[in-house]
């Protein structure tokens, strides 16, 4: 944990500026809800913003939050891509996984009591078929956050 913190501080002082090195693959988070035992089809998580406007060039709080969430999704995909089976188990118990569950709960929105959801991480590349990287366990769709 301390090593990660020190690495993040070092990255702050010496940024690599190489975030556009490889932009051939993007990652998508799909979700499906389970209601009374019936699974819905996988569908990409909805985006909150549906319109574009000039004003968003200057003030775009929801769009920037979604970009940050997408950063978490990309980071999770990278963590899984380089992990062994043991690493994936470690990922499932980690803070990044918990953040994804919370992102999903926020984006799924209204749900009935007893509903569950499941998510999967998909790698997409224009020249290849989509690849499923990770399928989660089932989680309650509604949970009080204290």
């Amino acid at each position: 944990m301390i090593t990660t913190a020190l690495l993040n501080i070092l990255k702050l002082f010496l940024p690599s500026w190489n975030f556009f090195n490889d932009f051939s693959t993007s990652h998508r988070l799909d979700e499906r809800t389970i209601r009374a035992g019936h699974e819905s089809d996988w569908q990409p998580i909805r985006e909150d913003h549906s319109t574009r406007s000039i004003g968003r060039l200057f003030f775009n709080s929801r769009g920037n939050l979604e970009l940050l969430e997408n950063t978490f999704i990309d980071r999770a995909a990278q963590e899984i891509a380089v992990s062994s089976a043991e690493g994936v188990k470690h990922f499932e118990q980690g803070a990044l996984h918990d953040s994804l569950v919370r992102i999903l709960r926020r984006r799924i929105g209204a749900a009935q009591a007893g509903d569950e959801f499941q998510f999967r991480l998909v790698s997409t590349n224009p020249s290849e078929l989509d690849a499923e990287l990770f399928v989660s366990s089932r989680y309650p769709a509604r949970k009080e956050i204290l």
Partner: protein, 170 residues
């Protein structure tokens, strides 16, 4: 044409102050969503309060930066920059990485440069080193991103552009 260091510093202060102000307002507007990402094992309500307090402090610190720090707070200028640097570092650590990508990295570099430049009263060369640091990081950010596009086949064939246009973005 050469730019007077004092004018350059003032311009950077205004741009940086405006960036910090806008970011603080944006995060405050969506603090509940941001808190979900950075709460870790801490209680949600505590994280929302922590984030709100942090952003309000940054918002307040951005005002003298825009209004004219060197006229009002010149004696404690380095302390002022240090407060913003520590605040930025705290946010980055809490989010386990840069908060919003390249813009936050550049904000941090500008703060470090201004901190170094603020010691120009001790030795004027420090003003030039501070401004040089900001200039070098600005040039590097564009140069290295451009170099990556030249070296990566996916950028040359257009695949990366397709991915970029298909990805989720505001």
């Amino acid at each position: 044409m050469t730019l007077e260091p004092a004018i350059a510093i003032r311009a950077i202060q205004i741009l940086l102050g405006a960036g910090i102000l806008l970011q603080a307002i944006e995060v405050l507007a969506t603090r509940s969503g941001h808190a979900l990402l950075c709460m870790g094992n801490r209680p949600y309500s505590y994280t929302v309060q922590w984030l709100t307090a942090k952003m309000l402090v940054r918002l307040l610190l951005s005002i003298p930066l825009i209004g004219g720090l060197s006229q009002t707070l010149s004696v404690i200028e380095p302390v002022f920059y240090m407060a913003l640097i520590i605040s930025t570092g705290g946010l980055v650590l809490r989010f386990d990485g840069p908060l919003g990508g390249g813009s936050d990295s550049m904000m941090f570099q500008a703060l470090v440069g201004l901190l170094i430049a603020s010691f120009g009263v001790v030795n004027p060369i420090l003003t030039r080193i501070g401004l040089g640091w900001i200039a070098a990081q600005s040039v590097l950010s564009y140069f290295l991103a451009g170099l990556a596009k030249l070296r990566n086949n996916n950028w040359l064939t257009g695949i990366a552009l397709q991915t970029l246009l298909r990805s989720n973005g505001p």
